[in-house]
Symmetry: C2
Subunit: 250 residues, 2 copies
Amino acid sequence: MANSPTGDSATDRLVRILDTFTPTRTVQTATEIGRRSGLPSSTAHRIVTELVEAGLLERDEDRRVRIGMRLWELATRSSHALRLRQAAMPFMERVQSRVREHTQLAILEQDEALFLERLSSPDSGANITRVAGRLPLHASSSGLVLLAFGDVDLQERVLSSPLAPLTRATLSDPAAVRRKLAEVRAIGHAIAPGYIEEVSTGIAVPVRDETSRVVAALSVVLPRDAETDFAVVELHRAAQDIARSLGFRH
Amino acid sequence: MANSPTGDSATDRLVRILDTFTPTRTVQTATEIGRRSGLPSSTAHRIVTELVEAGLLERDEDRRVRIGMRLWELATRSSHALRLRQAAMPFMERVQSRVREHTQLAILEQDEALFLERLSSPDSGANITRVAGRLPLHASSSGLVLLAFGDVDLQERVLSSPLAPLTRATLSDPAAVRRKLAEVRAIGHAIAPGYIEEVSTGIAVPVRDETSRVVAALSVVLPRDAETDFAVVELHRAAQDIARSLGFRH
DNA sequence: GAGAAGATTCCCGTTCATCGGGAACCTCGG
DNA sequence: CCGAGGTTCCCGATGAACGGGAATCTTCTC
């Protein structure tokens, strides 16, 4: 009985298992993994054991399971992300040291904004977990930049799907988003006051590679009522420096 | 026929495939992957396709394959590494801004030193690729620290296996390494002049968590003839700040 | 400390997805 | 225009994965 509506290959199942880990849920028991991934307990246990042997997962002393460091290492082989991150880091630090709050680097991934790096002031340690690794394109300043400079197919796809609002301020009407995108293209950056959380404003600029294609968005988060001009200038400067730095490699 | 000397489960094969990617070899054709992983071409193609659909791998426009950003994201769920890295980053930046060259954070992983983060001056972009993600414990300053403060089993295991020298200066005699470890424990840091490359010296200190167990090594790389005292002081200060910062969480 | 709820391990017969040889096809570069 | 290497498609045999179930161990709860 069970269900298995979607056909599952070995790879599918693996991904289902890995996907039971979320930014907040980083350790769980093998049985939990089974439940969450829709796998019978015995099967889940077997596969988890294999994955642990392979190093993709790790077991705590108390038998609970978490994602293995091996995966981190493998991710490191991902040329694109790594190269971009490496190039951006020094300049992100400069932004962070001048603007404070959070500085973030995001790329387009599966129709969402995926954050590769996020610098925070040491004092604001509280909300590290709260901030997710992904945000919808229409709601975050980074997402709006990626969307505005992305191709038309992407825009249609995103605008024709439900635009869930995260706060009262989030743009959830396709027409409104369309206007916003035009504005972003016109002024060259996106300002998202209160879209993600009421109390803060996101500011993002496009980052271009050596061929001047937009490959990422660089953003900062400020208190809702803060002055934004200085941040915009700093972000643009950093984005240009990153582009120049990318030009050097290869 | 073929061979399959080691028994292979679905997971094994997956890992074999992922392992064909190295820090230098980040893109390859499906057939190449098959060759390197010892899998028949048709099989390799099938699995690679599945992995691409799952997002663990990605295809370039020209059909070639690289590691997918999805993996990066999953790695991000790895609580330990992430937490440590997040806590360490601000202080690593401080070290980097004062000492220059490279600043690195390494942990113990499968009897080797695995580098989680590595800050470099923007100008020294050349050698990013050259620096591997892992180094042997007996040869790197970070490794010596991790080994010196690691448990006895680990030390025996490492010292009884062949100690490959990377340069003429690398300690490759078990007795010499043992003496060095005693020294590290005595003075509280490791200095490795020319062990990795003739021209540079690594300096590492232990990083402790809130329970004061050694969980990582923080290190810098300096020119071989540089003065080390200042770096040692800065490193110790950063390590303490990191420990304090780790104490805040949870 | 007793009892319950949950997690883990082991066993085993069935089945069905995986495997991989082979051949045709595509795509370069020379 | 040719050839080498990469990719896709096909298909029958095989054996490895599957998962129900029960016994055991661990962790809470009261």
